[in-house]
Symmetry: C2
Subunit: 214 residues, 2 copies
């Protein structure tokens, strides 16, 4: 697949690198400097290159949205027309201080995003784990027991795309249902963040759902 | 320990039974009928008996609050003075239809509960797993790898009490921080409920946090 990365920070940089190593064609976009994008592309050692958001979006099978909430409008404007595109979003609706959700309960960041891009198919995914764990999970991807990763969305084909990407990283994709379930996955992320960044065990944290009696 | 069960339904009935089998002295209270309480006490096969909420609260080292949100005021009134008591709560602030949280984002059910009982020490716990999985987890409690269970609260001794109870059930207790973190654990519960009750894999669901690189 061809995957455009909108926002090549901690999350987008690592996921893009992993996508490239998993064999996908990746375009990194939207970092502080063009040099950073080029370094990411070079070190990904796969079919990866640096580009603008518009270049990342062009012909992409999936777009990874991984910018701060305050940058969503700007990166979408730069990306141009995304009608029909699958957008896998891990952007949480955090306030400027990153201390709290600005959207909760009666809506979610993912739903607000879907309203902004009515022609696109939004799948919320990857937002629920710290970026620090991604390479660990990828390195362990041949193991039988994998960590879970939640995703939700309203359109089945886009969800299949997201599930494939999730599997490629080394997670067991767990379909949480329609996009409105992001109202629950987004607070869950704050919980994970608490455990990852304010506990003693470090940020290399993942989670696994276990069904007993299977 | 002596544990009073306020609300002996699916959750309270099972947890009380497990607490009794783990060696605690349990008083079941607040079910539809006195017969149900007596049956629970008989079948728990430990030091368990039926009683009123006031009897459950009397001399209890911990109270498990496991009623529907609409019953919280009533059961607390019946329990009487709970100043200084440790209340382990798995009551989520759900609306009458059980379709949505009535408190979210700027507060949580656990925090609202703490305001109702300013002299008590509230720990939110056990709300994050379906009752259906509890016996499975208890049966597997000797295994090295246990599922996690989140708890949060503001007072360290009460949290130690909750952690012991959690360990007794067979979970690995995970301290999520102060009580306000219930703003995240409560939506997480809705997520768990979705996976447990609307997925194909059944309600015997637990979760485990995994720290890589430990």
């Amino acid at each position: 697949m061809r995957v455009g990365i909108l926002g090549s920070g901690l999350m987008g940089g690592k996921l893009g690198t992993i996508f490239a190593r998993a064999g996908h064609e990746v375009v990194f976009s939207y970092a502080r400097t063009k040099q950073k994008l080029e370094k990411l592309a070079r070190e990904a050692k796969g079919k990866a290159r640096a580009g603008t958001p518009a270049e990342a979006a062009r012909d992409a099978d999936a777009l990874l949205l991984a910018v701060h909430w305050s940058r969503v409008d700007d990166v979408l404007k730069q990306a141009g027309d995304v009608s029909g595109k699958t957008i896998v979003s891990c952007s949480l609706p955090m306030n400027a201080d990153d201390t709290d959700l600005v959207v909760a309960h009666t809506s979610s960041g993912a739903e607000e995003l879907a309203k902004k891009v009515p022609g696109a198919r939004v799948v919320a995914a990857f937002g629920t784990v710290p970026s620090e764990v991604l390479f660990d999970v990828f390195a362990a991807r041949r193991k039988v027991t994998k960590p879970s990763l939640l995703y939700c969305g309203d359109e089945s084909r886009s969800k299949k795309v997201a599930a494939q990407l999730i599997g490629d990283v080394g997670f067991d994709p767990v379909d949480a249902g329609p996009l409105r379930i992001a109202r629950y996955t987004e607070p869950f992320t704050l919980l994970i963040a608490r455990l990852a960044y304010e506990g003693k065990r470090g940020p290399e944290l993942a989670y696994r759902f276990e069904w007993f009696g299977e």
